[in-house]
């Protein structure tokens, strides 16, 4: 989050400084780690000779957090997870101790090792071996897409769990095109769909995972469309520079999500996606903020015409509220309406920024947020690398029970995209969120400048369609675009300002605006 005005921020900082030590203590207590075992009762039953990796869900942990597993006083592990081998019958008590900057908490679990015939027939179905530790899971950013002739797209399975030596097979239009192979034998479970040689129209790609327990298939409908240009919409005299529709508003959890103390409720409780996108568009029309929440949260908007790629000049204008000391960069994506249905269900291209291709930029990133079980709690997350963390609950900024919008629904949601390395620092009560060089929304880079023709007070961000890249890092060479997606790029939060969340105040076609 950032200031709505410098005054507002100052007032808040003063307020924070004025907090009594009691409140500080309470805040720190509030930021202690939490531990939740996958088996809710912390009582595990294992067959003799079996192995189980125990992966608790933690909150308020980061890369500096330390873990200590112990049994009968002896340390047996220092990782976030622990694998127990049920070698001998009996009861075992295992402690896990988790330490972050605010202190240490510990919890204890019990493992009862029993003979196979002591397990009742329906025990696994009854949940003693928890479903989330044994159920096969995979995730996909999309299952239907439109792609122009001449392009390729990578189809990839994310966050695979519990495939138990399963094999993967890709089938395109009833013909096996890859596999079967084991996951450990490949870098990733993915397939590059190439339109070359394929007819226009629908093609069905299937991914099947098969192991001794089950066979699971995911279907992808891929529509091969005419090459770009078929549905290009010309700029007319009445065309407007501002986007005319917000198609999707999917904020990740954040303290400006589902309420915000400073400006009050942004969108009423119980709102639908349709209502939410309408409110977002109205905000853009007034140049008000729309927060995308934490990493992965996004908004998709479109124009009433196709926006031309000028080749070398800027094409898009996106306003945020960055400062040199406080930038919350968002990745910008663009897309063409290649099937002409007026909906953003087509291939996306990332606009490369200064970090593209460097170690600061993690592409094909996925992050799952979990709605807290209890109100007024931090929201936990886990990413595709197994990292975990939180979006902090901060009643100073937002007193609503959950930072989770109703239309997002469910108890967990996964966002896919590109992540930028978190660069913020917090020292002596002061948060520093430095910008990257250029190419990101809500980022005080070299391309975020004042143009008094538009706005005498505030600066705006300028972006080039010519920076659009295909999934494999090549220049996309798009002639035009129809849709824009902006997505929060960084994870992380600071103790006083909360989660890093990109804000968008409007998206314009620079060629009309100027």
């Amino acid at each position: 989050m950032k200031k709505n005005s410098v005054l507002c921020l100052l007032a808040m900082l003063l307020f924070l400084t004025a907090c009594s030590s009691d409140q500080d203590g309470e805040k720190r207590q509030d930021l202690l780690p939490t531990i939740a075992f996958p088996v809710a009762s912390a009582r595990y039953r294992m067959e003799l000779g079996s192995e189980l990796e125990i992966v608790p869900r933690y909150e308020h942990v980061d890369e500096h957090t330390t873990y200590e597993w112990s049994m009968d006083g002896a340390v047996i592990g220092t990782e976030a997870s622990y694998t127990f081998v049920a070698a001998t019958l009996g009861e075992y008590f295992i402690k896990v101790k988790v330490t972050n900057a605010y202190g240490t908490v510990e919890d204890e679990l019990k493992i009862t090792v029993i003979k196979v015939d002591q397990l009742s027939e329906n025990e696994s179905a009854e949940g003693l071996i928890p479903i989330n530790e044994s159920m096969f899971v995979w995730k996909f950013p999309w299952t239907n897409i439109n792609i122009p002739s001449g392009r390729t797209i990578k189809v990839k399975a994310y966050m695979i769990e519990n495939d138990f030596d399963g094999t993967y097979t890709w089938t395109l239009d009833d013909v096996v095109v890859a596999g079967p192979y084991l996951r450990q034998d490949v870098e990733e479970v993915s397939y590059v769909f190439d339109t070359d040689g394929l007819s226009q129209g629908k093609h069905t790609l299937l991914l099947t995972m098969k192991n001794e327990l089950s066979e699971v298939t995911q279907s992808f409908d891929i529509q091969v469309c005419p090459s770009e240009g078929a549905y290009r919409r010309a700029v007319l005299s009445q065309s407007q520079s501002l986007v005319n529709k917000v198609y999707e508003y999917m904020p990740a959890p954040g303290h400006q999500v589902n309420g915000y103390t400073i400006v009050g409720d942004f969108i009423h409780e119980g709102a639908t996606m349709e209502e939410a996108t309408q409110v977002a568009l109205e905000h853009f029309q007034k140049m008000w903020s729309v927060s995308l929440g934490a990493q992965g949260g996004y908004l998709i908007a479109g124009f009433d015409h196709s926006v031309e790629n000028s080749g070398s000049d800027y094409d898009l204008v996106i306003r945020g509220n960055p400062f040199s000391y406080q930038s919350e960069p968002g990745i910008i994506w663009v897309s063409q309406d290649v099937n002409g249905d007026g909906l953003p269900n087509d291939l996306w291209y990332e606009l490369a920024g200064s970090e593209y291709g460097t170690e600061n930029c993690i592409q094909e990133y996925a992050i799952t947020y979990y709605k807290p079980q209890n109100p007024r709690s931090h929201t936990g997350w886990k990413d595709c690398f197994g990292n975990t963390g939180i979006v902090p609950y901060m009643s100073l900024w937002n007193t609503h029970a959950y930072y989770w919008q109703d239309w997002v629904g469910g108890t967990e949601h996964t966002y896919f995209g590109t992540r930028l390395k978190d660069t913020h620092t917090y020292e002596g009560g002061y948060t520093m969120e430095p910008p990257y060089a250029w190419g990101y929304a809500d980022n005080q880079g070299s391309d975020y400048v004042k143009d008094e023709r538009f706005d005498a007070v505030n600066a705006l961000g300028y972006y080039k369609i010519s920076n659009a890249k295909t999934w494999d890092g090549k220049d996309a060479n798009l002639q035009y675009i129809d849709f824009v997606k902006v997505q929060t790029a960084q994870t992380g939060y600071s103790p006083n300002l909360g989660d890093i969340s990109t804000e968008v105040y409007g998206i314009w076609d620079y060629h009309i605006k100027k």
Partner: protein, 370 residues
């Protein structure tokens, strides 16, 4: 009576019946009691079909226990299979299930003040009594598809609430009752996985809550209006089993019926039970041993608060009942030992330090604090 032990009871009772029948016809004397302090009633279930339920009375100040006080004060037997005891306005109401009786005795003299009598099978096998008011109480039943309504002052039957539950293996069980606002919640124990919600203004069942595991055995309500329910998960014994014998602990929001917590506990060898302290923020749970849990904790601790005693062969005693003294937080644990011999009661302070222990009748299962 613990259903999972039904068959072993029957075997036991066959041998005990002879003993119970012989020498029990002597003309009894009636003793005069006058217990005015804040004593503790201990109901001893006895053995099924043996007619040897009994009542003990313990004075926590003098640490003196009087066993068999019902028979001693009244010159007659308490009955067969004492299930529950509850105090109201100086009267202790005792449900004796296999005798189909609810006694009301004076809490100071232990003399019978009344007995709920019903015609036919209105009350078949009474389990628990819950007071909606001084003149209206609900009685649950092991077999009846009705919760009976009685007037505890006059010991008369007033009516019945249809539970709408179908017979399951001959049982149509309703068990413990707790009240949150105007609604009474009861758990259907035998061969069921339901909780029922009853509107005390209309005396009608208004809702069912279905659980993920079988045989909800015990239930309490906390200070936040949450129901804490423990199932025994059925039973498993030679030649017969029902479900998986894995107890589950639930926290359920009474207002909405939403299950907020569902945790599988350890396979149980005796009797699962929930008790709560007087401020209704700490749970005591029997699951082989005794566990203590704050209502805000994320799970039941894995280490027991009080461990069940073990016999010379290392076999764990069967802990059978638990009560918490509302005046000082002392914890009373009923030990059925092996179900056959006289039981024991252990009294602990709130920190789990043993204060006293004494022998009582067979299978101590329920406590009432004056």
């Amino acid at each position: 009576m613990q259903l999972k032990k039904l068959f072993s009871y029957m075997l036991l009772s066959a041998s005990l019946l002879t003993a119970a029948c012989s020498g029990s016809d002597e003309a009894p004397e009636e003793e005069h009691f006058s217990s005015t302090g804040q004593g503790v009633f201990v109901l001893c279930e006895g053995n099924f079909n043996s007619g040897n339920a009994s009542l003990s009375y313990y004075d926590p100040v003098t640490k003196k226990v009087e066993n068999g006080v019902f028979q001693r004060a009244n010159g007659r037997k308490l009955g067969d299979t004492g299930q529950s005891i509850i105090l109201r306005n100086g009267v202790a109401y005792i449900a004796v299930e296999n005798s189909g009786i609810i006694w009301g005795i004076d809490a100071e003299t232990f003399r019978v003040k009344g007995q709920v009598t019903t015609t036919g099978t209105q009350i078949i096998n009474p389990r628990y009594v819950h007071f909606v008011s001084d003149t209206k109480a609900y009685v649950t039943d092991l077999y009846s598809p009705y919760i009976n309504i009685i007037n505890p002052k006059t010991f008369t039957w007033m009516g019945a609430i249809a539970t709408g539950q179908e017979d399951s293996r001959g049982y149509c069980s309703t068990e413990e009752m707790v009240q949150v606002g105007k609604y009474v919640y009861t758990n259907c124990w035998s061969y069921s996985n339901k909780l029922l919600v009853i509107d005390t203004e209309t005396d009608e069942m208004v809702r069912e809550i279905t659980l993920s595991s079988w045989q909800p055995k015990s239930m309490k309500a906390d200070k936040n209006g949450k129901l804490w329910v423990i199932t025994d998960g059925g039973y498993s014994m030679e030649g017969d089993s029902f479900s998986d014998n894995i107890p589950h602990l639930y926290r359920i929001d009474a207002a909405t019926g939403n299950v907020e917590m569902d945790q599988a506990l350890d396979s149980d060898e005796a009797n699962v039970q929930i008790e709560m302290n007087s401020t209704k923020d700490v749970l005591y749970i029997i699951n082989n041993d005794i566990y203590k849990m704050n209502i805000t904790a994320s799970h039941l601790p894995v280490r027991p608060f009080i461990e069940a005693p073990k016999d010379a062969n290392g076999r764990r005693h069967k802990l059978y009942g638990i009560g918490v003294n509302p005046y000082n937080g002392d914890i009373y644990v009923g030990d059925a030992v092996d179900y056959g011999q006289s039981g024991a009661v252990y009294r602990y302070d709130a920190n789990g330090t043993l204060i006293d222990q004494f022998r009582v009748g067979i299978n101590p299962n329920h406590f009432a604090f004056k």
